[in-house]
Amino acid sequence: MSRPSMWETLRGIVRRDLLLAMRRRSDAAMSVFFLVIVASLFPLGVGPEPAVLRMIAPGVLWVAALLACLLSLGRVFTADYLDGVLEQMLLISQPLAVLVVGKVFAHWLISGLPVVLLSPLLGLQFGLGGESLGVLVLSLLLGTPTLSMIGAIGAALVLGVRGSGLLIALLVLPLYVPVLIFGAGAVTSSLAGIGGEANLSLLGACLALSLFFAPWATAAALRIALE
Amino acid sequence: MQWGSLEEFLAMGGYGLYVWTSFGTTALCMGWEVLALWRRRAAAVAEHRDVS
């Protein structure tokens, strides 16, 4: 018997979650549909003036992406918690943070990456063009992993708690504020012609910070939830 | 002493509504908290006695 390396464990977890997502494609598609529908509702509510739409585009697209991420958070641990797989996973021969990073990465691949890939299309709906479209994609690329990382803490905290769907939103949304500000700010400043570099680098800093802290917090929350 | 009369004091130079709402709400909240704690403690102690 040999202990599998950290890398092998990580790959095993990601591959397993992707396999499971392939078996339930509708679940993964749901958050993307949600994003498209929410983003499409805003022009209907605000009116079709291109100038107004372009002005609200960064905020609306970012809030929609944030809500789509929030909607899919319940899936990170709940199913595994209910059928006892999470219990088994807590007993892997690696630090628990490795498990968390694997699961969060898989969650991002399933629900974050589609949002990033779809965002240029939605940006076009709102009349964004050229450089700001690129900044939108880049900001989401940096921001959505952070959202998944922070969200995992909340998802682990509310495992098996009644009314967890609403509770997780209340716990996680305040933690999302900086990401939202920097993400939407990057697009806004590129629209204003200042260039989004400063905000993008702050987004990167947020990602680094969450990569550093969130796995440990999530691991602690998982241990507490499974006691 | 800078207040000529009680009316002047209550008027707060035209800002009476804002000033007294702030101080009043604060006093109300604190008083309510103390009262609620008083009741909570009475209930808890009574319950404790009932059971044990």
Partner: protein, 253 residues
């Protein structure tokens, strides 16, 4: 662990802490009443009228102490929560639980009095100023910690889960403050600094500090009193456990 000849470790047991808290409460309450009384007197009768803001500035005698206390109490709550997680001490968790409602109340008061001050001074009830915004998020975080605690039935898990959330929140608040300030400077013009008048009279400062220490003493008294309530409630749960099934205990709570 001895400081000034007192064995502080002794008070980490509930049996010793309960009477200690009981004997501290009257002193804290008396100090609070005295300090707040003197603070109010100086604030209303000695401090001069501000030449820019008129009498409306007197709101800061309650606004600033409330805002300070709200943040201070959150940090203290998180510190107790962290201590509880680190040492696995039930008393620390109870302390964190006892602080949360008072902290949330001060946060709410800071927001409300902030609006009351903002309307005559800025002409708007609410401005997306960095301090006000982080205060709002702080209120959400207090609410999150308290809600998480009440929605978990198992006491031990409730303690520990809300402790983790409180600790995560401590990292979040400065980041939010910083990010909102950054965001405000980007949206030129909207930023109105809430810094008090540049040259503050000594009497104003005295009144504000007295009020702050008074609020602090008030928080101490209320927290200790709530702590005693929590201890009695948890004790009675323990004695119920002998007779009632777990189900009944969970429902009764």
């Amino acid at each position: 662990m001895s400081f000034m000849g007192v064995n502080w470790l002794k008070y980490s047991s509930p049996q010793a802490f309960y009477p200690l808290a009981g004997s501290l409460i009257p002193w804290c309450a008396a100090a609070a009443i005295l300090l707040i009384g003197v603070g109010l007197y100086i604030g209303f009768f000695i401090a001069p009228t501000d030449f820019q803001q008129g009498e409306a500035y007197r709101i800061i005698f309650v606004h600033v102490p409330a805002a300070w206390m709200s943040m201070f109490l959150y940090v203290v709550m998180a510190a107790w929560a962290g201590l509880g997680l680190g040492l696995n001490a039930r008393l620390s968790f109870m302390m964190a639980q006892a602080i949360a409602p008072t902290g949330a109340m001060f946060t709410f008061l800071a927001l409300l009095t902030g609006a009351m001050w903002g309307k005559p001074t800025w002409g708007a009830w609410w401005v997306w100023d960095a301090r006000l915004t982080s205060e709002l998020i702080l209120l959400f975080q207090y609410a999150g910690v308290m809600l998480l605690r009440t929605s978990i039935d198992d006491l031990r898990r409730a303690d520990r889960a809300s402790a983790v959330l409180a600790l995560v929140g401590v990292v979040n608040v400065p980041i939010i403050y910083f990010s909102v300030r950054w965001w405000n400077t980007l949206h030129q013009g909207a930023s109105v600094s809430m810094t008090a008048a540049p040259k503050m009279a000594a009497t104003m400062l005295t009144a504000m500090l007295l009020m702050t220490v008074g609020f602090w003493m008030y928080s101490l008294a209320v927290t200790l009193a709530r702590m005693r309530c929590v201890m009695v409630e948890r004790e009675s749960l323990l004695s119920w456990g002998k007779q009632a099934s777990m189900q009944e205990v969970a429902e009764a709570r």
